[in-house]
């Protein structure tokens, strides 16, 4: 699914990702850990294609339509409601039976009652839930999650853990986190960045 050889990323003179060799196969669950500034977010952005490598090789066997990326920010329009946000992204991702899928995700992530409220009025935890809905909307085969448990309450954490553990999904996951113990049950490989 992901193959990196000598992958590096610099911003100016600062090397953010040091030469990295990595293979992530289909169905793998890679947990990326490391202190602040170690390059976890940049690595996920490299995998997503949002930034280009400075050096080395990076091959992904999926295109954009099969990739889901949850960044630090939930990446939703604050002046749109939860439904409007998901309808917009569902249209852009060509999600079949979009309305049903949107409704199902909002229900599953506990946002159904707030579906017509603008995201601006959401708490940070609700925004994170909405961001997860946006990320999962098109049922991506490769899921890149950057600190996905951020701001989630106990119910939200449980929902996300259930999603990650779902045996029905043949997803490949790359999760950057400061809390790797939470993912011990799911991880098939680990990468510690210095």
């Amino acid at each position: 699914m992901i193959r990196a050889r000598g992958l590096t990323k610099r911003f100016g003179t600062k090397r953010v990702v040091t030469p990295l060799d990595l293979d992530v196969g289909a169905g793998d669950f890679l947990v990326v850990t490391g202190p602040n500034g170690s390059g976890k977010t940049t690595l996920l952005r490299l995998f997503s294609g949002l930034v280009a490598p400075t050096g080395g090789e990076l091959e992904l066997s999926v295109d954009r339509s099969a990739l889901g990326f949850l960044a630090h920010e939930p990446l939703v329009y604050r002046e749109l409601s939860a439904v409007e946000n998901l309808e917009l992204f569902g249209r852009l991702y060509r999600v079949p039976e979009r309305r049903e899928r949107v409704g199902m995700l909002l229900e599953r992530y506990g946002l159904w009652d707030a579906r017509h409220e603008r995201a601006r009025s959401f708490s940070r935890g609700m925004l994170q839930r909405l961001g997860l809905c946006r990320t999962l909307l098109h049922d991506p085969r490769l899921l890149l999650l950057d600190e996905p448990f951020n701001a989630l309450d106990a119910d939200g954490v449980e929902l996300l853990e259930r999603e990650l553990a779902s045996p029905a999904s043949e997803r490949t996951l790359v999760v950057a986190t400061h809390d790797p113990q939470r993912l011990d049950a799911f991880a098939t490989s680990r990468l510690a960045l210095a």
């Binding site: 280009a52 939703v76 329009y77 604050r78 917009l88 249209r91 603008r118």
Partner: protein, 213 residues
Amino acid sequence: MSGLVADSAALARKDLLLELRARETLPAMLLFVVTALVVFHFALPADVSDRAAGGLLWVAIVFTALLGLTRAFVAEREQGLLDALVLTPCDRAAIWIGKALAVLAFLVAAELVALPAYALFFTALDPAAIAGVVLADLGICAVGTLVAAMAVAGRARELLLPLLFLPLAIPIVVGGVGATVGDEPARSLAFLALYDVIFAILCFASFEYVVTE
């Protein structure tokens, strides 16, 4: 092709809805263009020539458009949403088309107030001048949206946008003034149409490289 049209329409609708709710861009554009025309009206002598008044109209239009363009990518910039749009499998040109259509709608709305105000303060515009405004709007929105997206990525974006946009808008002003007060308005209109076609193609083809690293 139908996917590009549908995606562009969905993105433009989204921007119009955002403006309808936030009301941040259009009121500022309206206030600016009307204020500019009022100032010109009182600052200039009563017997000001049509040529001078026409030039001032184009100054007002270009800077009103610049005001709209400055805010075109605010939601995407503040909430990192350009990443979310770029990651979708839609043609990236749809992002440019959708945004340009929204900016065009705001500019046309501002002109629906500005042109009658101009007629009231100075002189009524003839059909050639109105056609010039329409063609100029298309060029302004096509080029302006591209450079607004470029400026979003930069650090000094408030400075970068006018630096990039105004030199590219000079031919539009030249064509627009020619269509408004020139001796050969048809020639100026043809020039504006050619500008629109060339820059629309360039912007369509290059937008992908602007929003990806």
